[in-house]
Amino acid sequence: MSAHLLHHLIEASATRTPEAPALTSGQETLNYGDLADRCSLFASAMMHLGLGRGERVALYLDKRPAFVEAAFGTAAAGGAFVPVNPLLKGEQVGHILGDCNARVLVTSPERLPLLAPVLAACHDLRHVILAGPVPAQTPEGLTVHAWQSLAGAPPQAGHRVIDGDMAAILYTSGSTGRPKGVVLSHRNMVTGARSVAEYLGNHPGDTLLAALPLSFDAGFSQLTTAFHAGARTVLLNYLLPRDVVNAVTRERVTGLTAVPPLWIQLAGLEWPASVGEHLRYLANTGGRMPREILQNLRTKLPRTRPYLMYGLTEAFRATYLPPEEADRRPDSIGKAIPNAEVLVLREDGTECAPHEPGELVQRGPLVAQGYWNDAAKTAERFRPLPSGVGGRERGLVLPEIAVYSGDTVRRDEEGFLYFVGRRDEMIKSSGYRISPTEVEEILYATGLVGEAAAFGQPHPALGEAVICVVTPPLGGHVDGAALLAECRRRMPVYMVPARIEIQTGPLPRNPNGKIDRKALAAECQPPQP
């Protein structure tokens, strides 16, 4: 069968290779045949509970097989699943449940009491499914089901859906306000899985480690790319970076995707030599990998090929840098992934000349279906593409919606793209626009820091002043004076931090594991003029 709906990814592999391992969690491994059966069971249970076409099923769970069964089972029923980051607290979960009008909530007995205060306000919610036993006390007005009771539902086909229908809503934190729900269609997710699996060369012999949260598009993508390829995914709830190295070694993982703060920690650990026998590639997403860290990882893992990726939740993935280019242009985010077109546009909608900074705009079948129930925010980011740019011919009359990323990039003569900065995070100081990633890159390059974050703060004379927060390198301390001297040596004057703050522990992360510049900026006192 050919996969055009999300759950077909599992079903197609189950038809080809029912005995092949699909999912490992702790000691348990499910093969494709069993996983497909379990997803069908969940789909039947949803139909039995009366889930309507397109209705939302929220998943507030750590990584475990039940999460995967519920996500793909919801899609098979014709509903849309909403993965909620398991690190979010009750109030934030309540916001998401209310915002997406969830009909069903899947969670664990331990998490349910945390949600008790917020569930009463979720007017559309009818059913709670617990991965575990049902406690004596359950929230009023809701029917609470034990996971085991789902098995009693008679087999039932899901609603008829087409690949333009919604399959999922992924909540993403923006620069301002509450998280927004990015609506993804079946086509978005299936096309994304095909595209990524194609350039990573995923095959049935692969084992991918799902270390990132499944509520994050790049985290969920480990499942879709592996299922598309008939490969195995290992689910890992990690606490310490060592857990990741241990899982890679124990499960003989062939592909590892992580975000820069995790790579920074992983680069500081010892990797057994045997990892080189199986770890085929490492992939970075969710921010620029500092050059020193990439170098360090490549020294430790000389046989592992690095893929540097860039993408927005609003259009899944956008670009990647092929490993053979990583030495030549380690600062580049590469070129568009298969089946996506990436443009660099001026404010007036025309295309930028080589090296001229402009906004990254993505068109094609990966472009999401907008933000759930938010016409204003959708209209800011999802806009009609002007005629005559890229592959859009002037004679076409129907509007084509593209994603305007809000990220500033430039393109060289050979077509390779370079990230300049997020428009809303750019620091404006003494008339210059300064990219925080560029400042951080220089701080890392000094070798004098462990982690670094740069941001702007209001300053009466400069407009904004550059503030940096850094942590000590592994087993060392930060010499503030030496670091500032290195900054003066390596940076133009306008970029040199007005203040460098030193913190001991790791810097705060946002729920997706990226260093949280906004939280740091909020903690810092404005600089003295």
């Binding site: 990584k63 398991p86 690190l87 607290k89 709830n237 310490l240 060592r242 522990g505 790791p506 705060p508």
Partner: protein, 83 residues
């Protein structure tokens, strides 16, 4: 005070559970079950154990499996900090 009670007090404080942690039992799952326990907070817990029990925990002595449940953590503390 016994080790289990000490560990519960320490968890409740380090993870800001506001009393919730005091009702935990050895079977209460930790890893993956508590939104408060993430890769940042776990460092605070390890630090609190070192401070409270006057021990130094080498990096290779501890990993995610130590935090599977309250019971596994109590067992670990009992091993590195004999009464």
């Amino acid at each position: 005070m016994n080790t289990e009670r000490e560990v519960l007090l320490l968890l409740d404080d380090a993870l800001s559970l506001q009393g919730r942690g005091l009702a935990f039992t050895p079977d209460t799952p930790l890893l993956g079950a508590l939104p408060e326990l993430d890769s940042m907070a776990v460092l605070a817990v390890i630090h609190a154990i070192e401070e409270r029990f006057g021990v130094e925990i080498p990096d290779d002595e501890i990993d995610g499996s130590t935090f599977i449940s309250v019971g596994s953590l109590v067992e670990f503390v009992g091993r590195i900090a004999p009464a």
